[in-house]
């Protein structure tokens, strides 16, 4: 017998458009931020989150996988990428191109508002443990705090028992791993080893173009995304000084002595 529809899980996956990790980051001349006129793609940890949601559908009873992104108009491309990987629908909380990047607390509040608007209650939120652009690593935890839900961070393995409404998550901790069991609804943040995201196939990319994307604004959600932190200055790390070559061992020893390094 098919499980009754109320048992099916609704998964929400927040995704962020970030500077692609292969791009060499350059600080802007005003030292207020980085040059963003470069290739962007989905934050790699979020890609892992989308992949995990799609895989969960392959092994448990999932009713829907919805993506949500908060960002400028181009963020809709990030949604399309996730839809091509297998998500069903997207929500785009659109910010003007010129708006400052929202901070974790603002994002968490916006996500809470999105979750509260859903007709079908959200059971699982899977999101990246951090975004590789600002490396804040706070959104998942803040969201769990705001909602009062269970949280399992830095997940390297996820099992969900949809009937028992329970999640078992292996998380990466210093020097090993830890297994958690928690009640749904749950917030899970992904670590690198959780899975290896698939490449979207062409037929799926084409199908993704027809999947629905709902557009919202921060005011639709009743949230204010104005930053509350002030960035004083952004600078590049000090340049590494290159090594030199020596012709022979004697020269090496002389150089070492010069540098004050001697045999103990």
């Amino acid at each position: 017998m098919r499980p009754s529809p109320s048992r099916l899980l609704n998964i929400l996956v927040p995704v962020k458009r970030a500077v692609d990790y292969a791009v060499k980051i350059r600080v802007n001349p005003q030292q207020t931020g980085i040059d963003t006129n470069v290739k962007h793609s989905m934050n790699p940890f979020d890609e892992i989150a989308v992949e995990e949601a799609v895989r969960l559908r392959e092994r448990t009873d999932v009713s829907s996988i919805k993506l949500v992104t908060i960002g400028p108009p181009k963020s809709s491309e990030t949604l399309r990428t996730g839809l091509a990987m297998g998500a069903d629908a997207g929500i785009h909380v659109e910010l003007p191109e010129s708006a400052p990047a929202p901070e974790p607390l603002g994002v968490a509040k916006a996500l809470r508002a999105v979750i509260e608007r859903q007709k079908e209650p959200v059971d699982v939120v899977i999101l990246g443990k951090q975004a590789i652009d600002d490396d804040a690593g706070q959104t998942g935890q803040m969201l769990a705090g705001l909602l009062g839900w269970s949280q399992a961070t830095f997940a390297s393995k996820v099992e969900i028992d949809s009937a028992g409404k329970e999640a078992t998550v292996l998380r990466e901790i210093d020097g090993g791993s830890e297994e958690l069991k928690c009640k749904l609804p749950v917030i899970i943040t992904t670590d690198l080893r959780l899975n290896e995201p698939r490449y979207a196939s062409l037929p799926n990319i084409m199908k993704a173009k027809k999947k629905p994307i709902e557009k919202l604004t921060p005011s639709d959600l009743g949230v204010d995304l104005t930053p509350i932190l002030q960035t004083l200055k952004v600078t590049e790390p000090p340049k590494r000084v290159g090594g030199g070559k020596v012709e022979n061992v004697d020269e090496l020893i002389a150089k070492l002595k010069e540098a004050g390094i001697t045999a103990a």
Binding site: Y199, L202, N248
Partner: protein, 527 residues
């Protein structure tokens, strides 16, 4: 046509017209002008193992017995070495990154190896004209990284880019993955500096560079405006530096038989602002040609590569972890794959074109493709390329490869691969302990097929089954036996299959003229 027995010599015979081998006294001479670290010789203190990387080729197929490797740092040092060797009749093998696939870069016997590895400096780069002048020993990838921040790219790219030298590329007239877009080195190389077999330096770089000794720029960069510099540059292009015989062309593809290239001046194109790639899975080989036509029509100026990989090659690349691909179900039934790359100036424009093409391909009534994958990020872009570029490496991990790099009409790519496989099967040589795989991949845009036969070990029996068989099929399709890898030691005997008597006669005369003592890479290209 030739009967094979007539044209086939002993493969390992080196032309040795009274050549001498390197002696201790020669090393003493080299010590007068070379730094100690530039001399590696078993006649003095080096262990034979130190010379192994120089004596053995990339495939582990050709093995030399050189006692001495010299690694000069300047053109002057190269000239002094060559002039000494010329007087002493010591044969020389010029060596770049030693990634050549036809045995050209290692000695046939105990020739002296002259490695360009220490000549690895960029001499000048003009970001306005894109002209790069570099020592021959610069690694291709290093040059790509050098010009990248100035928004230029090298006009060539190949799987060996992390090791091969620009000098080696020119010496083999390497084709590679960007040929479709930027043409051959015969066009993009603007000048060469070559040490001739008698030690003279043929400097064809000077016409492009204003000053040999001062700040190394062709054009004074500081005291002129960009406009002035651009004008001067265009003038320099239109006033041909050399009227008369275009001598540098002789050294492009000469595989070190006419002299040692010590520096290269090359025109680098501006980097495309947007690149995309896609791998397409095809149900039949027959679809490749119609697909090529469609892709050319729909993408026109942004098409920059169209590479073919047959199923066996694809499977091997996946097996040996050369990049990520589609899932097994997604490529079920695919007989071959094509990688298409676009490069253009505007991301939105290019993506729109590519998307239109893909939509058109997928929605066609009789689709030419069954599936595919479009890269979504630079990382995916690299990993799709790695699948194609990684084939060479995957092949070498799988076993011992017989490599034929041939040009045949596109429509016969598959027939050539199939016929070779059937032929080996008919000889009882197609099994785990003999030939494991026969596969094909290559640059469709250039009509260039890499036919690879992967064996458990190199054996005379397999060799005899393959040659002249392969050369004969190529000849029957009026193809060429060496599309881009060169002749080296591997194909000297087969040269008559794609060059006629007149051409070979002329080549021999040129060789005789430039290298009367036959000391430059003997036994390579010409017998």
């Amino acid at each position: 046509m030739f009967s094979l027995r007539q044209v086939r010599p002993l493969v390992t015979r080196a032309t040795r017209c009274a050549h001498t081998r390197v002696q201790h006294s020669d090393i003493d001479h080299f010590r007068q002008f070379l730094q100690p670290s530039s001399i590696l010789s078993t006649l003095t203190d080096a262990a034979p193992a130190d010379l192994e990387p120089f004596n053995n080729d990339w495939m582990g197929k050709y093995h030399g017995q050189a006692t001495t490797v010299l690694k000069p740092r300047t053109t002057e040092e190269v000239a002094k070495i060559v002039s000494w060797c010329s007087q002493r009749r010591i044969p020389i093998v010029p060596q770049g990154g030693n990634t050549g696939l036809v045995g050209g870069s290692v000695p046939l016997r105990d020739e002296l190896i002259l490695s360009l590895a220490n000549m690895n400096k960029v001499r000048s780069f003009d970001p306005v004209s894109g002209i790069l002048v570099a020592d021959a020993g610069c690694i291709l990838q290093t040059l790509t990284d050098y010009v990248g921040p100035h928004n230029h790219i090298m006009p060539l790219d190949l799987g060996a880019k992390g090791s091969c030298h620009i000098g080696g590329n020119v010496a083999t007239n390497a084709g590679g993955l960007r040929l479709l877009r930027y043409g051959s080195l015969h066009g993009s190389v603007l000048g060469l500096e070559v040490v001739l077999p008698d030690g003279q330096v043929l400097d064809q770089l000077t016409t492009l560079r204003k000053d040999n000794t001062g700040p190394r720029h062709f054009l004074p960069v500081h005291d002129t405006s960009p406009l002035e510099r651009t004008l001067v540059f265009f003038k320099s292009l239109t006033i041909k530096p050399y009227s008369g015989y275009d001598l540098k062309q002789l050294f492009i593809g000469a595989e070190g038989t006419l002299g040692i290239i010590t520096a290269v001046s090359i025109l680098t194109p501006p980097s495309p602002q947007a690149s995309n790639n896609v791998i397409l899975a095809l149900p039949h080989f027959d679809n490749v040609l119609p697909l090529y036509k469609t892709v050319k029509r729909d993408l026109s100026e942004i098409l920059s590569a169209f590479e073919f990989i047959d199923r066996t090659a694809y499977n091997l690349a996946v097996k040996h972890g050369q990049g990520r691909a589609l899932s097994d179900e997604e490529v079920e039934g695919a007989q071959c794959f094509v990688l298409v790359e676009t490069s253009g100036g505007r991301r939105d424009h290019d993506e729109e074109k590519l998307n239109d093409l893909l939509e058109h391909l997928l929605s066609a009534e009789q689709p030419l493709i069954t599936n595919g994958v479009l890269s979504q990020s630079p990382a995916q872009f690299s990993s799709l390329w790695a699948l194609r570029e990684g084939v060479t490496e995957a092949v070498s991990k799988e076993g011992k490869a017989y490599k034929y790099d041939i040009s045949v009409p596109l429509s016969s790519f598959k027939i050539v691969v199939d016929k070779t496989r059937e032929h080996l099967a008919s000889k009882g040589l197609l099994h785990d302990k003999a030939v494991k795989h026969v596969l094909g991949y290559g640059h469709v845009g250039d009509g260039n097929l890499h036919l690879n036969i992967i064996a458990d070990a190199y054996t005379q029996e397999i060799q005899d089954a393959l040659e002249p068989f392969v050369y004969e099929i190529v000849a029957s399709y009026r193809g060429s036996i060496s599309a881009e890898h060169g002749i080296g030691a591997m194909k000297t005997h087969a040269l008559p299959y794609s060059k006629n008597d007149v051409a070979i006669g002329l080549m021999k005369q040129i060789k005789q003229l430039l290298d009367p003592h036959g000391i430059m890479n003997p036994g390579k290209v010409l017998e």
